[in-house]
């Protein structure tokens, strides 16, 4: 027959102060982590209604595509500038040579 051994070491030995206990309780009960500037009330109503009426995935897809389009335009512009600089460097080297 096995016999239960008494615990020799309490791994969780910290005894909180009453203030800590009260604060931890409040933190657990009020874990309403929301921060950042909120839009005005009218705008909040519009946003909430939009949330109820919009298909999230389709809406996100549209936003990602718009953003991707912007990035592609930037990339194209960077590539054109890169091409221009390479041509100028080549011209300069040719003149030297």
């Amino acid at each position: 027959m096995s016999q239960e051994l008494p615990e020799t070491k309490d791994k969780k030995a910290y005894q909180p102060t009453p203030e800590q206990l009260a604060r931890w309780k409040r933190l657990d009960e009020n874990d309403g982590a929301i921060a950042g500037i909120m839009p005005p009330e009218e705008e909040q109503v519009r946003i909430f209604k939009e949330f109820l009426e919009t298909d999230y995935l389709t809406d996100q897809l549209e936003k990602v595509r718009t953003h991707k389009e912007k990035l592609l335009k930037k990339l194209k512009s960077a590539e054109e500038y890169e091409e221009f600089l390479l041509e100028k460097i080549e011209e300069r080297e040719a003149k030297k040579g």
Binding site: A13, G36, L57
Partner: protein, 193 residues
């Protein structure tokens, strides 16, 4: 005490997590607020939906390196934050700090009704994660944010102090160290197991 895993950037899981937040939030509006905006208005859950929506509306344009999140033991996204480097005046000297531009918990961690997905402590965990990340990088642990008036008490309990009454709150170096110590003590006590 619930434990959370801390994630930097936007992973596939963060995207999936936000889609689930949207799905569950709509479900809660139907179940608890008869599908009506005005029934939910003024609640913490409502503010959470607004904040989440403002984040997701600009998510594709937010730099990935500015996004932090925590996941709970169910592997569910529990809280998300957008951060950026900034500086503040401390005793007439500009010091680097991290601004938490936005932070919001999952809808099940904000709604007043008890739902099975709820895991307490997500907000505390994401603030703790940001402090520890900066400590490991040897950067400033000073945090700044604008608290929603109704949630000021939460940030005060974490050690943040108000600056000028505008809602701006700061957690200084010593406050950050005290918070980490306090959370270690909480983990080492059996009170919230």
């Amino acid at each position: 005490m619930n434990e959370f895993s801390y994630i930097v950037g936007v992973t596939k899981e963060v995207g999936e997590g936000l889609a689930l937040w949207n799905e569950k939030a709509r479900e809660y509006v139907e179940t608890y607020y008869q599908g009506l905006e005005q029934r939910a208005r003024g609640t913490r859950f409502y503010r959470g939906v607004i904040k989440t929506r403002t984040i997701t509306n600009s998510l594709p344009e937010i730099e990935e390196e500015n996004i932090r999140s925590v996941f709970d033991d169910q592997n569910l996204l529990a809280s998300i934050a957008i951060i950026q480097d900034t500086s503040i005046l401390v005793e007439e000297e500009l010091v680097n700090c991290i601004e938490i531009e936005s932070i919001v918990n999952s809808p099940w961690n904000l709604i007043q009704y008890l739902v099975p997905e709820r895991r307490k402590g997500a907000g505390t965990a994401i603030v703790e994660g940001i402090i520890k990340e900066n400590r490991e990088k040897g950067l400033s642990r000073i945090l700044k944010l604008f608290a929603v008036p109704e949630e000021k008490i939460f940030y005060s309990d974490l050690g943040f102090t108000e600056t000028d009454g505008s809602g701006e709150m700061i957690l200084g170096e010593s406050g950050a160290a005290l918070l980490l110590n306090d959370l270690d003590q909480k983990r080492n006590s059996s009170t919230f197991d």
